[in-house]
């Protein structure tokens, strides 16, 4: 009798846990429709391993560089680990996690996020929390993820002991039941790839017309916390024998102040790093701001991203000695598939716009 009741209890418990898991999967946002950026981090794992170059950073990497083009032109195997408003500690922990999956020759980090020193310095907390979610929810479980959560939480999240809601996202998305759409059921078990090796393609064109301006700052010195994580990146890459390359993508906004640039130049010099301010290379890249941007100069569209990839690929080959893998049959087969998807996507998007 006793045995039977314990068995019933365990069976019921198992069923309940399974149902809760299913509920959680259903309630989590799928990021398949209008806000595809949220799906980027999670897509890395299907394409991890064997990448010679890994880009890490915010929208200035995942909207601006096309890995497919670098493959086509130079045989470079590369992937982007980008997410919207990725902050520097998040970038660091993504980098740390990447080394669990592969050891690239080159790590490329976009330095715009140096401007944000704390989770509170990035503006609206609600928005901040949504960005945190997009960067963190997609990560698989690891010490890096946990540390990244601890470093990223806003005051409000801390107040709610938000770490538990990263562990069990149901606790975060519990109230989405009233907003579920067909998408949530459609992608319950299997999601589509929204990116091409981390690159989120845009095909629209919105020319740059007026200069974006921002008011001058009181203090241009990057924060201590930012430098702390940049130092850690340098250290981490050194440990793994990976070359760290710092870049500033050629996005015209947010403003990249000269004072900031100077600090990065000095930092790179001091640590023997390659730092490329691509804003200064616009002409060489050949960016046509009337054609190559989809949002008036903030980000490049696919035409700009291909140009930039073509330019930056050359730097990777010439200055970092990244190898050409087009002769490797196995790798070529994998990438041929990626190339195919890429052009299908491009066509489909072009047809839409």
């Amino acid at each position: 009798m006793k045995k039977k009741s314990i068995f019933t209890l365990c069976a019921c418990l198992a069923v309940c846990l399974a149902l809760l898991w299913l509920l959680q999967a259903l309630l989590m946002p799928k990021y398949m429709g209008s806000v595809k950026e949220g799906a980027l981090i999670g897509e890395y794992y299907d394409n991890a391993g064997n990448n010679d170059v890994v880009f890490i950073g915010d929208c200035e990497v995942y909207e601006n560089f096309s890995p497919i083009t670098m493959w086509e032109e130079y045989g470079i195997t590369s992937i982007i680990r980008g997410s919207p408003q990725q902050l520097i500690w998040q970038s660091y922990y993504l980098m740390e996690e990447t080394f669990q999956y592969e050891t690239p020759k080159v790590m490329v980090f976009n330095v715009l996020s140096m401007k944000y020193d704390t989770p509170q310095s990035t503006g609206d907390q609600t928005q901040r929390e949504a960005y945190n979610r997009m960067t963190l929810d997609g990560m698989r479980w690891s010490g890096s993820k946990w540390n990244s959560i601890q470093a990223s939480m806003t005051e409000e999240e801390k107040q709610w002991q938000g770490q538990w809601s990263y562990l069990f996202p149901l606790l975060r998305y519990h109230d989405r039941w009233s907003q579920l759409t067909g998408e949530d059921f459609q992608y319950l078990f299997k999601k589509d790839q929204v990116s091409d090796n981390g690159y989120l393609m845009q095909t629209g064109v919105k020319p740059f017309e007026d200069e974006h301006i921002q008011p001058p700052l009181v203090d241009y010195t990057f924060g201590e916390n930012s430098y702390y994580y940049l130092d850690k990146m340098v250290e981490l890459c050194k440990q793994h024998g990976t070359q760290l390359v710092l870049i500033k993508a050629p996005s015209l906004y947010p403003v990249w102040w000269d004072e900031w640039d100077q600090q990065m130049v000095e930092y790179a010099e001091k640590h023997g790093l390659l730092y490329v301010n691509l804003l200064e290379k616009q002409e060489e890249i050949g960016i046509d701001w009337s054609q190559d941007t989809y949002d008036a100069g903030l980000h490049l569209n696919v035409y700009g991203a291909e140009k930039l990839a073509s330019y930056f690929g050359k730097i990777l080959v010439e200055e970092c000695g990244v190898a050409d893998h087009r002769g490797d049959a196995e790798i070529s087969t994998v990438w041929a598939e990626k190339v195919k998807t890429y052009y299908q996507r491009k066509e489909a998007l072009q047809a839409q716009s």
């Binding site: 009741s5 019933t8 019921c12 509920l23 538990w164 809601s165 519990h174």
Partner: protein, 522 residues
């Protein structure tokens, strides 16, 4: 650490597992350690407060006990030689000494409490206005009102020799700090709680299950109902909401405070039950009360009992009161007989009022309650005649009418909590009789209070569920016992359903109120 936090649940879960795994002799030690962990979690700066109460209570009770023992021994040894008068005088002398100990202890502790409350009026008000105001999480340090009252009750009991002094300081420390009830009570009596705390507990699946079920139900009331309706309560406190809107506020606040307070107590009592400890009930479906005295026997019972035992009775049977009674009876007739009772009532309600907060509105709240209790007592004769004349007591609808009348009256008294400025309260009450803006019910005002149509649906469903459960409890007794008779699969399914409701419809977590939030776009 709030009882609704994930940390609290984790803490409770770890404790429960450890509690039944370790040797039973060590269980109370574990409880003590857990209680202090819990307390330290709230902030190490408050540790001094609870230690001071524990140490002073221990010192005073041990001193009194030693004195009592000495006395008893002396009396036993000299039984033959002492006359009755001598014995009486000796006892009285001993009592005087003990009284000094007791008063020193009381003054010290209540002094600290008073100072804390006075100092913390500002933050308390800020918390109240931010809506994070849980009826009894008044003032800091954590739970000070509760553990102080519990400890002082114990000290008085030792003085009165109604319970033996606890000789083990660690055991006393557990009694003072026992964590589930540290936050919001109930305030237990030593004789009732302490033996349970120290006794070894065998694992009992039924008790554990019942305890967890009760916690879940508590979370339902707190998270789904109280925390959801809170938004509207905050809005409705605004000066523009008068007349019918104010009446709605009183009803909403009744729902909020019921969910918040009884829900919190359910979590507390449930967790204690899971630990094999039976705490006293603090609420017995108070909104079903038919008169105010009954209401106060069913609402926040442990505080009422405390006030009765340690304020009301001592005052009303004290020598000056009895003298007053004799004098009053001569001059005032039958009323004179009751005069001491009324004086004691006023004192008791005054203390109850300031216990809730050192602002005039809480004093007013106490006095209003007192006034209506006395009024109904004075008019009880009239009522009985009236009832008898029309045979109202036998009519079913009349019971319903009495309950509704009581509900509305208590709502109007209780709402003074929300108006630190007493003038605001009276002007709102006044507006009930001058402003008949029933149109707020349908002109869209209700949708601007911070609740959506969906919120109203969930609230309505939740309230119906609470009401039904209460009705079943009132008529048929424990729901959990009824469920226990059922097929376990049915039972588990129902519990799981409640769990899912709490998880999905609970108002908790980040970004809950961010209507402009990105996820709304999916």
């Amino acid at each position: 650490m709030q009882i609704t936090s994930f940390g609290f649940l984790l803490f409770a879960a770890v404790l429960l597992v450890a509690y039944y795994l370790i040797p039973k002799k060590g269980q109370w030690i574990l409880l003590l350690a857990a209680s202090y962990c819990f307390y330290l979690w709230a902030g190490i700066e408050y540790l001094g407060f609870i230690l001071l109460t524990t140490v002073s209570t221990y010192a005073a009770t041990m001193a009194m006990a030693a004195n009592q023992e000495k006395q008893a021994k002396y009396l036993a040894e000299n039984k033959q030689t002492l006359s009755r008068e001598e014995r009486k005088a000796y006892k009285a002398k001993g009592k005087r000494v003990n009284r000094v100990y007791l008063i020193a202890c009381l003054v010290l502790n209540f002094g600290i409490l008073a100072v804390c409350k006075a100092l913390l009026i500002e933050p308390f008000k800020a918390a109240a206005s931010a809506g994070t105001f849980s009826f009894l999480s008044l003032g800091l340090p954590l739970g000070i009102s509760f553990y102080m009252f519990q400890s002082m009750g114990y000290a008085v009991d030792v003085y009165r020799q109604t319970c033996a002094a606890e000789k083990n300081p660690l055991k006393l420390a557990l009694f003072v700090s026992f964590f589930p009830q540290l936050i919001q009570g109930p305030i237990s009596k030593f004789g009732q709680l302490a033996p349970q705390l120290y006794s070894p507990k065998k694992f009992d699946g039924k008790q554990l299950s019942f305890g967890l079920q009760r916690m879940l139900w508590g979370y339902f009331k707190k998270l789904v109902i109280a925390d959801r309706i809170a938004a509207a309560v905050i809005t409705l406190r605004g000066p523009e909401h008068t007349g019918v809107s104010f009446f709605i506020l009183t009803v909403f606040y009744a729902v909020q405070i019921y969910g918040d307070f009884t829900g919190g107590i359910d979590v507390t009592v449930g967790l204690a039950q899971a630990l094999g400890i039976k705490l006293p009930e603090n609420f017995i479906r108070p909104y079903f009360s038919k008169n105010i005295a009954e209401y106060w026997r069913r609402w926040h019972i442990s505080l009422g009992e405390w006030m009765k035992d340690y304020i009301f009775y001592p005052i009303s049977v004290s020598q000056p009161m009895l003298k007053l009674s004799k004098a009053a009876r001569k001059n005032l007739g039958a009323f004179g007989k009751r005069l001491p009772v009324y004086v004691a009532s006023i004192a008791t309600w005054f203390v109850t009022g300031i216990w809730h907060g050192l602002t005039p509105n809480f004093v007013l709240w106490g006095m209003l309650n007192c006034f209506f209790i006395v009024l109904s007592e004075e008019c009880s004769g009239l009522y009985e005649k009236f009832h008898g004349r029309f045979h109202l007591k036998e009519k079913k609808w009349y019971g319903g009418f009495e309950i509704a009348r009581m509900f509305i009256l208590m709502n109007l008294i209780r709402i003074v909590d929300l108006f630190p400025n007493v003038g605001d309260y009276f002007s709102r009450i006044g507006s009930l009789f001058t402003k008949f803006n029933f149109h707020v019910l349908w002109d869209g005002t209700m949708m601007k209070l911070g609740l959506t149509a969906l919120d109203y649906i969930i609230l309505a469903g939740g309230i119906v569920l609470m009401f039904t459960i209460s009705l079943i409890q009132e008529k048929k007794g424990s729901i959990r016992e009824l469920l226990w008779q059922k097929n376990p699969v049915v039972r588990y399914a129902l519990i799981f359903a409640l769990l899912v409701i709490v998880l999905l419809m609970g108002n908790y977590g980040v970004g809950y109120n961010a209507s402009a939030f990105i996820y709304n776009a999916f």
